[in-house]
Symmetry: C2
DNA sequence: TTGAAAGCGCTAACAC
DNA sequence: GTGTTAGCGCTTTCAA
């Protein structure tokens, strides 16, 4: 027996369902919400469910959000989706959030403070229930912002020293230690470091890791063998490695702050007629897609970016559900991937 | 003279502004909306603007959306953000939309029909004003769906033959023509094609382009020199190129359906002791990041992915503003990028 | 030109 | 257990 749709146009509303089921809209709301289903008679609930089904009822999240001040939406602030690392993090976040019915709202910020502000405000206006920020700069208004009242915040790929904020990061300290240890086992002693920008968290933490790793291997981290790049780019890697070579201090291996910097090292070495790994070994960081295809295939430290994102999502859900849980700071284990850019120390010492 | 905030908690609302300005909320709404500002006295409007400024008033898009059935939000359906091509498209979309105050809602679908459905429904429920779909499958429920009433749809990186839907795509026909022409100029005559999956739009259209290009060069497209992959992966490229070699028909060059397939060709050739480009030239498609770093650097056809996205955004805005504009189908020009994987035809003919 | 009032679809406090 | 009511913040008729 076909039942006519009650509201003649547009999708079915709660009231339509109520009319079909012969109950009050409030009852429908209760019956449909898992949280409050217990408050309603089982038979009634079933009737409501059937009516909803029949009408193809879909709750309107906008209306719900207006009432509840929640949106089941999480703002994701990321420097650049075109960077494969962040793309992986974002997929992890999306997949981690989906199960729980949350949707990410994504904005690229290019690490630009103004764009971050604008995106933050816009998302706040859209009632996001929380933010996951992959913003890399170490000093960040988001971290200090007292105006950040109520809204949850989870950091990914960076943390704060105070332990005041939930965060997931790769264990840079351990990752760099693996890289240095690998080089030492190959006989290298004079190991250089092309560091990432020290104003970015990962650049800074890997630099710290390098200093510690050298120390614990009983080696001196010669300041002349450390050069700081302005950014994580191939170009900067080339410039820094070039500077290293021009300083005239000998070294047989270099640990780069990330894979792009390592690629730049390739360029600088080639330009001066030096071979990798025969003359100089190079280690990258991140294990970007296709670095195994480079010439030579890059030895690097793999960071579980997807898992970083998925874990950040989990931490966010935890914050959202639990009331005032202590913020947890998680460290995800990296993995050394040995390929063709590292080899035993040559007799030939550069420069 | 400091003015106390009126609603003691939470952000300022329209009513707060109205109280401060000494007018009715309706007037504030009119004064603040550029569309209706003309209806209100200029002096009053200024007073309202000042009050809004003072209170730091931000309109609540949720409430507005509830009333207007619009959300200033565009659903973006994309197979996989971790694919750098789509990441670029999405950035183009985001940047193109931002100016106009629209926000993308992004979902990865992995080209999976069910996930697409779910994402589509969820976004519809969130009142998206339109969809930009980069979904690649040629037969697609979205395209036929009669239930797609009212909501705008723009296609990117694929089109439909009927011209019924606005779409932006790279000009695959021209791109493949450039590739074939390049090879012919290098003296190649027996040119093979490792085609992408024919159920995906780009795989199909590049295959068509190949047939036409060969014809217009006065060459025969030998069916034995065309092999169809199951997907755009390195692995499939390897399998297909291997099959090509096993068939025993001679060829000196291969046009791959995309860069990953081309990479697979590298593998298959190397595995059989053949050199690229000395024995076989290879051309890719897309110009992914870092293909210039491969061994050998890949000759390929560059597709302007970012512009594809930006143009799709523009098309969407056009649809949103104009009432029932005829759907435009745009073609963006590709560009041949010659690198090291193509060379003059060798005397040595394989297999 | 502005005010009044209704209502988008939903939830939650309270009443029965 | 269920109905009633009020209202989230905004836009948009309709009247004045």
């Amino acid at each position: 027996m076909a039942m006519r749709k009650l509201s003649l146009e547009g999708p079915a509303t709660l009231r339509d369902v109520a009319r079909v089921a012969g109950v009050h809209p409030g009852t429908v709301s209760r019956a449909l919400n898992p949280q409050t289903r217990g408050l309603v008679n089982e038979r009634t609930a079933r009737r409501v469910l059937e009516a909803a089904q029949e009408l193809g009822y879909r709750p309107n999240p906008i209306a719900r959000g207006l009432r509840t001040n929640r949106s089941n939406t999480i703002g994701v602030l990321v420097p650049d989706l075109m960077n494969p690392l962040f793309a992986a993090v974002v997929r992890g976040i999306e997949d981690g959030l989906r199960e729980a019915g949350y949707t990410p709202l994504i904005a690229n910020t290019d690490n630009d403070a103004e764009r971050e502000q604008v995106a933050y405000e816009a998302m706040n206006a859209r009632q996001v229930d929380g933010f996951i920020a992959a913003t890399a700069r170490r000093d960040h208004w988001l971290l200090a912002d007292d105006a950040r009242t109520g809204v949850k915040l989870v950091l990914v790929n960076r943390r704060v020293d105070s332990d005041a904020l939930p965060a997931v990061t790769g264990d840079d300290h351990e990752g760099i230690r693996l890289a240095v240890e690998h080089l030492v086992r190959l006989g290298h002693r004079r190991i250089a470091h092309v560091a990432g920008s020290q104003s970015l968290y990962t650049g800074w933490s890997r630099h710290q890791g390098f200093l510690d790793a050298m120390r614990s291997e009983g080696l001196e981290a010669d300041p002349d063998l450390i050069v700081y790049s302005q950014g994580f780019t191939v170009r900067e890697g080339g410039r820094c490695c070039g500077e290293l070579l021009e300083r005239g201090r000998e070294f047989t291996a270099v640990v780069a702050g990330n894979d792009l910097l390592a690629l730049g090292c390739y360029d600088a070495l080639e330009q001066r007629g030096l071979r990798c790994p025969e003359d100089v070994s190079v280690v990258g960081y991140n294990d970007m897609p296709f670095v195994d295809r480079f010439r030579p295939p890059l030895t690097t430290v793999r960071v579980p970016h997807y898992e970083l994102g998925a874990t950040a999502a989990a931490l966010m859900l935890e914050q959202l559900r639990g009331r005032d849980l202590p913020p947890r700071q998680l460290l995800l284990a990296p993995e050394l991937v040995v390929r063709g850019s590292t080899a035993s120390r040559s007799q030939h010492v550069v420069p």
